[in-house]
């Protein structure tokens, strides 16, 4: 007799998380609109210096995506209470499947977030045509995936701690910096028509490393959170 497979568990966890987020609306109806508003406020602060706005536009997009993306990644609706965690344990849920499922749902929400921010950036900042711009779609995906991975890992580390709300951003912020740095460098390299391989490799490698760490530490972290 066999239980559900790893990927079935991943699918069910992600499905549950998205259903909960759809009903609670913490990310979709609060964080994402607020992020878009933040992006609108910056041109008001800078003024009508159009060349400057065009220059800083992609960077502002990345900064807002990172700051508000962190809130999406460790949203309260993605945090299980102790009885819920115990239930998942007693159902025989693989903690690694929980990690991957939660990461998948966060990635989807972050992609939606970026899809909302991108047109706002284009309209308000008018950054002009960046050579090789389709590569930015890959960067957006890798950034969303990276933020989701970092947020989910931080959520696993702080699960069950009373200081979760304070500790999680402190863990996520430094881990996210390489993501911001590499993404910004890709934009810069595309503008200068230089090679982006190094920065794309850095983004992908960092994502892979966090994914491996998250999967390998999922069970010990789950056991220690009780």
């Amino acid at each position: 007799m066999t239980g559900p497979t790893f990927w079935c568990q991943v699918k069910e966890i992600a499905r549950k998380d998205l259903l909960i987020e759809g009903r609670a609306g913490e990310a979709l109806f609060i964080t994402i609109p607020f992020g878009a508003v933040a992006l609108m406020l910056i041109p008001l602060a800078i003024g009508t210096d159009k060349p400057l706005l065009a220059q800083v536009g992609p960077g502002m997009f990345l900064a807002v995506a990172l700051l508000f993306g962190m809130l999406v990644a460790f949203r309260q609706t993605a945090a299980d209470t102790p009885p819920q965690r115990e239930l998942l344990t007693l159902l025989g849920t693989d903690p690694a499947a929980q990690f991957v499922g939660r990461m998948a749902s966060s990635t989807l929400l972050l992609l939606i977030f970026e899809a909302v921010l991108a047109p706002v950036t284009l309209i308000l900042y008018n950054p002009g045509r960046i050579p090789g711009w389709p590569w930015l779609l890959l960067v957006m995906f890798l950034l969303a995936l990276g933020l989701a991975l970092v947020g989910t890992l931080a959520g696993s580390v702080t699960a069950g701690l009373r200081t979760r709300n304070t500790l999680t951003p402190l863990l996520v912020a430094p881990l996210s910096m390489p993501l911001l740095l590499a993404s910004a460098q890709v934009v810069e390299a595309l503008r200068e028509e230089a090679s982006i391989l190094l920065w794309i490799t850095l983004l992908a490698t960092m994502n892979l490393a966090i994914a491996v760490i998250g999967v390998l530490t999922a069970r010990p972290l789950e056991e220690s959170s009780r």
């Binding site: 066999t2 239980g3 559900p4 568990q9 069910e12 009885p83 115990e86 007693l90 159902l91 025989g92």
Partner: protein
């Protein structure tokens, strides 16, 4: 809300394909030997010896803070004893075998492990899928606990009593071999208290075992084969109840 069904057997009762560990004949469901638990320097349990055989229903009585919930958490493999050894469904706590044994254990505690934004039906469907149980048993389980008419109600819009009923529906759905009930009758109205009897009978009929803990023994005593008294972290037998 409909009447609670006394019939504990659903359509999948006799051919459930859950991934329970195989407990060989003669193996106790749970065996604790010299188990002690300390939180820091404070001893919570000391020298607990307990063997629970298939088909047995054991009651543990004790005042608040006597270590009842800690004992249940050990039996649920959620807590590793600091002293002694514990074997649940044939797996020693601390060994890898526990991971498989856990899917044969259900713990119904003070706080129902429901996701508030999901409906009662969605909560049970999620549990069924994660446990590898057939999802067509969800409707039956909800009917059995008298919640067939409230299946589309969100868990956070349901009363505590309804949430407790869902926990019993979960136990009827996943058919555990070891059912652990922490203050089983708390938060249930008189009609719903029948659920405790139904669920305990269901597990006993399948040669599983049940442990009930309570600080109010009166309602528990008619259900159990033997009782223990837990006080100051020590478990003392009270003997058979019948």
């Amino acid at each position: 809300m409909g009447e609670i069904s006394r019939e504990a057997t659903g359509p999948n009762a006799d051919h459930h394909d859950l991934h329970f560990p195989a407990v060989t004949e003669g193996t106790p469901i749970a065996e604790l030997s010299g188990v002690g638990v300390r939180f820091g320097r404070m001893p919570i349990l000391r020298g607990v010896d307990l063997t629970i055989d298939p088909g047995e229903v054991v009651g543990v009585v004790g005042p608040n803070g006597s270590g009842k919930s800690t004992l249940l958490r050990i039996l649920a493999t959620l807590l590793k004893p600091t002293e002694g050894s514990a074997s649940i469904l044939g797996a020693h706590i601390g060994s890898n075998g526990v991971l498989a044994a856990r899917s044969g254990i259900a713990l119904l505690g003070h706080h129902p492990g429901l996701w508030g934004e999901l409906t009662l039906e969605e909560n049970l469907t999620f549990v069924a899928r994660m446990a590898g149980a057939p999802t067509d048993g969800v409707a039956t389980a909800l009917d059995q606990v008298g919640l067939g008419g409230a299946k589309l109600r969100r868990a956070d819009h349901s009363s505590h009593g309804m949430q407790r009923r869902v926990e019993f529906a979960r136990a009827l759905l996943t058919k555990p071999q070891l059912l652990l009930l922490d203050e089983a009758h708390a938060g249930l109205d008189r009609a719903a208290q029948m659920l405790v009897n139904v669920t305990v009978s269901d597990v006993r009929r399948r040669q599983g075992a049940v442990v009930l803990v309570s600080h109010e023994p009166d309602r528990m005593l008619p259900l159990v084969d033997r009782t223990y008294h837990l006080e100051g972290g020590s478990l003392l037998p009270n003997g058979p109840t019948s």
